[in-house]
C-alpha cells in the first residue's frame, strides 16, 4: 500500500468537493443548524423558560431516571432546560452531522466518479483496489470527523457562553460518548452504506438519497428518548455505539468484497 497514491485520492476528492457549490451547501448547512443554531436556541430558551413553566418539558424531565432528574432539579431554573435538552435529549443528534457529511462526500467520490465517467481512468492506473478503497473512505471520513468534533466543541462553547454551563454538568457523559465513540461509528456506517449502494446503483443522486435514509434510525432514537420510551444514559450510549461500530465494520467488509475493478467497471 503506497501512501502517495492514497493521499492523492484524498486530496483530489476533497479539492473537487470544495469546488462544488451543490455539495458545499448541505455540507455547511447541516453543521450550522446542529452545532450553532440549535445550541444557541436551547441556551436562550433555557434562560427565558424555566422547566416548571412548560408541561411538555416537565414530562421530558419526568422521563429521566430519578438520580438524573434530581441533578437537574437542583440547578437554578434558568439552566435546567439547557442541561435537559443539550446534555440528554439532543445528544443523539451528534450522530447526524458525521453521517450526513460522510454520505454526501462518499456518494460524490464513488457513484459520482462513475457518473462523470472518470472511474475507468482511475482503474487504468496501477492503483491497488485496497488503496482506492482506503482513499475513497478517508476522503469523506476526515472532514466528517473534523466537522463533527469541531462542531461539538463550538456548540459546547456556545452553551457555556450563553447559559453559563460547563463541566461537570455539560458536556454530559452520554454527550461525550456520542461525540467520540458514536461519530466515528456512524461515519464508517455511512461509508459502508454508500459503498454497498454504489456497487448496485448507478447514479450519484440515487446513492445520496438512499444513503440519507440512514438518518432515520437516529431520528427514531431521538423520538423514543423524547417520549420517554428509552433514555440513553452513558452506558446505553456506549452499547449503542458499539453496536454501530460492529454494523459499520460488517458493511465495510461486505463493501470491500464488491470493490473490485471488474464489478466497478460493470456498472460504468
Amino acid at each position: 500500500m503506497r501512501a502517495q497514491r492514497v493521499l492523492g485520492i484524498v486530496r483530489k476528492d476533497l479539492r473537487a468537493v470544495a469546488r462544488s457549490r451543490v455539495l458545499l451547501l448541505p455540507l455547511a448547512a447541516v453543521p450550522i443548524v446542529f452545532f450553532v443554531v440549535l445550541p444557541l436556541v436551547v441556551s436562550l430558551l433555557g434562560r427565558m423558560l424555566p422547566l416548571e413553566e412548560s408541561d411538555d418539558l416537565a414530562t421530558l424531565l419526568r422521563a429521566l431516571p430519578s438520580r438524573e432528574r434530581a441533578r437537574i432539579e437542583a440547578l437554578p431554573p434558568g439552566q435546567q432546560l439547557t442541561v435537559l435538552l443539550f446534555g440528554y435529549q439532543f445528544a443523539p443528534l451528534l450522530l447526524i452531522v458525521p453521517l450526513a457529511t460522510t454520505t454526501v462526500i462518499a456518494a460524490d467520490g464513488l457513484a459520482g466518479e462513475r457518473e462523470r465517467r472518470t472511474l475507468e481512468s482511475l482503474l487504468a492506473t496501477p492503483l491497488q483496489e485496497d488503496e482506492l478503497f482506503l482513499g475513497k473512505l478517508l476522503a469523506p471520513a476526515i472532514p466528517a470527523l473534523l466537522i463533527s468534533w469541531l462542531g461539538a466543541a463550538i456548540s459546547t462553547a456556545i452553551v457555556a457562553g450563553v447559559a453559563g454551563l460547563g463541566p461537570p454538568l455539560l458536556p454530559s457523559p452520554q454527550w461525550l460518548v456520542f461525540a467520540f465513540l458514536g461519530s466515528p461509528a456512524v461515519t464508517l456506517l455511512g461509508l459502508g452504506v454508500v459503498v454497498l449502494l454504489s456497487s448496485r446503483v448507478r447514479g450519484m443522486q440515487e446513492v445520496s438519497q438512499l444513503s440519507g435514509l440512514a438518518v432515520l434510525p437516529i431520528l427514531a432514537l431521538l423520538v423514543a428518548q423524547s417520549s420517554g420510551v428509552v433514555l440513553f444514559d452513558w452506558r446505553l450510549a456506549v452499547l449503542l455505539c458499539t453496536a454501530l461500530w460492529i454494523l459499520a465494520l460488517v458493511l465495510l467488509r461486505l463493501g470491500r468484497r464488491l470493490f473490485e475493478r471488474e464489478s466497478l467497471l460493470r456498472l460504468d
Binding site: S20, S121, P126
Partner: protein, 313 residues
C-alpha cells in the same frame, strides 16, 4: 527473437450469454503501432480492458510487457498509458491538478513531477491554460490533456481507445499529430479506432475485428494485395473521344465508366500489371491519353470489401 510487448492468444471474453471476444489472436512488437479496427461492438474496448487487467479473460492467454494482466495488473498498468474515448477528467480540477493527481497514482516522485508536468503542459499546448479548470476546456483540449496524462510515467506502451471519436476535425487532427509524434519517438502503441484513414496513416499493422473475431491482420498497404482487392485506374483523355475509349476498354475486358465533364475514364477493378495493356489498347484505337493514375486500394476499400464478403456469407 524479441518478446512481443502484447501477445494475445485465443482470447475469449463473454458477458453473460453474449460472446464479446471469440478467441482472438494477435501480437504487437516493441516500437510498433497496431491498429485495432472494427465497428462499434466489434470487441475493441473489451480487448483493451482485458489488456489492462480490468476484465478477466474467460479463455486463452494474454501477456502484456511479459506479465499476465489478470494476475499482475498493477505491473502492467504501471508501464502503460491509456487514453479512452471519454478523457475521464474531473472537470472541477485544473489541468495542472489533474496531472499532479495522476502522477501520484503512477508513483512519479514529487521532484520529477515538478519537472515533467510543466514539460507535458508545454508539449501539448496547455501551458497557458494550466491553471484553468477542465470544465472550461474544449473537447480537443481535454483529449490533449488526457494524452499528456498518459505520458506522465513515461510508459513503454500506449493503449488508445477511439481517441479522436468525439472530436471535431481540427481537434482530431491535432490529436493525430500528437499520436504521430509518439510513434516517431518509438513507443509501442495499440490504437483502437473505426477511423480507417487514421489507422492507415498512423499504424504499421492493423487487425480488423468483427463480432469478436479477427477478420484479417496485416500491413495496411499489403492487405489489399493479399486479399486481391483491385485498384482504380484513372485515365485523362479528350472528352470527344470518350465513346471510342469505352469501346476500346470493353474490347480488352475492362470495367470502365466515363466522367465526361472532367474528361476522365475511370477503370474499376484493375490490377497493376494490366495498366500497360489498357493504355496500349487506347493508343492503338487512336485515343489520346494525357494522364494515367493508379489509385491503390485504401484501408477503407479493404474494410468495405471484407464487410461485403461477410454479408454475402
Amino acid at each position: 527473437m524479441e518478446q512481443p510487448v502484447i501477445d494475445v492468444n485465443g482470447l475469449v471474453r463473454r458477458f453473460g450469454e453474449r460472446v464479446a471476444l471469440a478467441g482472438i489472436t494477435f501480437s504487437v512488437a516493441a516500437g510498433e503501432v497496431l491498429g485495432l479496427l472494427g465497428h462499434n461492438g466489434a470487441g475493441k474496448t473489451t480487448t483493451i480492458r482485458v489488456l489492462l487487467g480490468l476484465l478477466r479473460p474467460h479463455g486463452g492467454t494474454v501477456r502484456v510487457l511479459g506479465a499476465e494482466p489478470s494476475v499482475d495488473g498493477e505491473r502492467v498498468r504501471a508501464h502503460t498509458g491509456v487514453v479512452g474515448e471519454a478523457p475521464g477528467l474531473d472537470e472541477r480540477l485544473t489541468a495542472r491538478e489533474v496531472l499532479a493527481f495522476f502522477a501520484d497514482l503512477y508513483d512519479v516522485p514529487v521532484a520529477l513531477q515538478r519537472q515533467r508536468i510543466p514539460e507535458l503542459l508545454e508539449r501539448f499546448g496547455l501551458a497557458e491554460v494550466a491553471d484553468r479548470r477542465v470544465a472550461t476546456f474544449s473537447a480537443g483540449m481535454r483529449q490533449r490533456l488526457a494524452l499528456a496524462r498518459s505520458l506522465l510515467h513515461d510508459p513503454q506502451l500506449l493503449l488508445l481507445d477511439e481517441p479522436t471519436a468525439a472530436l471535431d476535425p481540427v481537434a482530431a487532427h491535432q490529436v493525430r499529430e500528437l499520436i504521430a509524434e509518439r510513434r516517431r519517438e518509438g513507443r509501442t502503441i495499440l490504437l483502437a479506432t473505426h477511423n480507417l484513414s487514421e489507422a492507415e496513416r498512423l499504424c504499421d499493422r492493423v487487425v480488423i475485428l468483427e463480432q469478436g473475431r479477427v477478420l484479417v491482420e496485416g500491413r495496411p498497404h499489403e492487405l489489399a494485395r493479399a486479399l486481391g482487392i483491385p485498384a482504380q485506374l484513372t485515365l485523362e483523355i479528350d472528352p470527344e473521344q470518350a465513346d471510342v475509349a469505352l469501346r476500346a476498354l470493353q474490347q480488352c475486358g475492362a470495367e470502365a465508366r466515363v466522367e465526361r465533364f472532367a474528361g476522365q475514364v475511370i477503370v474499376e477493378q484493375v490490377t497493376r500489371d494490366r495498366v500497360p495493356a489498357i493504355v496500349a489498347a487506347l493508343v492503338r484505337d487512336g485515343v489520346g491519353v494525357y494522364g494515367v493514375s493508379l489509385r491503390a486500394p485504401t484501408l477503407e476499400d479493404v474494410y468495405l470489401a471484407l464487410h461485403r464478403r461477410g454479408e454475402r456469407r
